[in-house]
Amino acid sequence: MDGPLVTALIATLAPATFGFIALGVVLGCTVGAIPGLTGAMLIALTLPMTYYMDSVNAMTLLVSMYVGAVSGGLISATLLRMPGTPGAIMTTLDGFPMAKAGRPGRAIGFGVMASFLGGMVSWVFLAVLSPPLAKLAVRFGPFEYFSMVLMALVLIAQVSSGALIKGLIAGFIGMLAAMPGLDPSSGVQRLGAGSTDMIEGFRLLPVLLGVFAVSQIIADVVNIAERAEQVKGRLSGMFMSLADLRRQTVNILRSSVIGTWIGILPGIGATIGAIISYTVARNVSRHPERFGTGCEDGIVASETANNATVNGALVPLITLGIPGSTVDAILLGALLIHNLTPGPLLFVNNPEIAYGIIAAALTANFVMLAFMLGATRFLARLMYVPKALLLPVILAFCFLGAFAVGNRMFDVWVMLGFGVVTYLLSLAGIPRAPFVIGYVLAPVAESQLRAGLMLSHGSFAPIFTRPISLGFVVVALLILLWPLFKKWYDASRPQKFGTKDAADT
């Protein structure tokens, strides 16, 4: 652990900074515990209020919300069979049956401890990997950046829910949404129909609020009649014993590594990490039949991995300027709003921010453990607040958040428009994650490509002749071709069996 990180860790204990961490974790856990509200929504809504804050405290608050929101989701997943955040989806499979069997405290206790340990292990990766990776990334030229952004888009399109083509469509729609406004090179206005309101294009915050808050609220209103099955019972026995901990050591370490790795991959968040970790835990278990019936291993695998993705996803964000998840896309926006340049130069130009984010992630993890163990009983009651009263207040906050960007109603209409369009796109199976990643990365990809082409006198060849850039292109192609290969492989297998059967007979 080097000097700046130790300094940043000590700084998180200063009363004001610690206060922001505690506030972020409390709000994150609370929102995470309420089904229908997500951490992304909370962070997008909080962004406009951070205008008035010091950059370090702003990022500290947002990162703490991220940690809290991912953890809070396990409460409703366990007590309502309804994940408070998407990342807790696999926790429902074992958390709810265990709670229903009369052990809700134990189920939540296992989840909280697993979340904490997953966060700790992945934080070590974050602290150890980030500085050297940033040093390496400083050497990237424009073509490397461009091909890396392309790879990130293809990757997120591939792993998003639904078909690859719809993931790609989402990514390209997001990229197109970033195009209106003044052209960065020539200064001419494009795709704005000559409107003065569109000179700056669609501003980041109204778009994020529309995509994450308004569209989610519309979805919640459509499904407002949904009632969850509730578990009644005392939340006692929430502490994990040493024997339990020993039994789960391998599971925790394995799930932490899976979660961290999935988090590091651009654009993939807690949900995929939890699914893969849970699946691996079940596959290597001596009793796979117990999974889904209230198995402790299942809760631990899911919760360890989804929390590990948080720190994993921060690695590409602060070292490369590539969001590791959709929430990180909002954090990327937060850095831009505070006039900070995300990417490797963050460690050079604003080390207090880069190390501040790393330090906040650790301190927030400790605060999360204390808060979740102490306040779960109260959070459990908040889950039952009627949505009919909650959603309109959030909409009013959205209005204020969008309006605060530039004191103009145009941004409010942009927010509402993006919310409705994103919801309608979701009906056609277009996922949100690639859309947002495309939206935030398109300006980076465009400026890097154009800068690169100026250096190469208009030649695209360096994309394929520079080794690192070629590596990213090859990975992107492999990701694109994988579904075709898998389809061919799956189609060829029954044929072989058929041939064998025919030969046998």
Binding site: I165, L191, I217, A388, L391
Partner: protein, 163 residues
């Protein structure tokens, strides 16, 4: 996602999506036709939007063609839909209309933030709670508290010039 029947996916959303993407793509090409050619760098202002639009148009064509053939990429049968309550899309339409009216009233200068927010919260809460009388006291208290509280916080602390 709507359930799939007889092994065929619901194709109308995909058809609308495909046609919509083609139209958006065409609009981008039309809107960028007057952009000046590149002078100091090879690509120019129009190249990237057109490139993205071309890809979107192509994907839109594929999606529309698949939809016409009765196929929807990535469509999955939703398990357990039978247990879930009926979705209420019209409630969402009503909510969107109320939100639009709320924004329009302030945009046009008809109402100030406090009154508009009070009315918006009260009406939306009533609509979403199916006009349950038992909710009324809570709604009134919440609407008054929120509209005054938000106005105070955002004008005094965040120094916003609210409508």
């Amino acid at each position: 996602m709507p359930p799939i029947r007889d092994g065929r996916a619901p194709v109308l959303p995909d058809l609308i999506l495909g046609v919509g993407l083609i139209l958006v793509s065409a609009w981008v090409f039309w809107d960028t036709r007057h952009l000046p050619p590149p002078v100091y760098e090879p690509l120019g202002a129009a190249a990237i939007p057109r490139g993205i639009a071309a890809l979107l148009g192509g994907f839109g064509g594929i999606i529309a063609a698949l939809a016409l053939a009765g196929r929807s990429p990535g469509a999955l049968a939703s398990a357990g839909d039978g247990d879930r309550p009926v979705p209420r899309p019209w409630l969402a339409v009503q909510t969107c209309l109320i939100v639009a009216a709320y924004a329009a009233a302030m945009h046009a200068g008809l109402l100030g933030f406090r009154i508009a927010t009070f009315l918006f919260l009260a009406v939306t809460c009533m609509v979403l709670s199916d006009f349950r009388r038992s909710y009324l006291p809570a709604i009134v208290v919440m609407a008054i508290g929120s509209s005054l509280g938000l106005h105070y916080v955002f004008t005094q602390f965040f120094v916003l010039d609210l409508p």
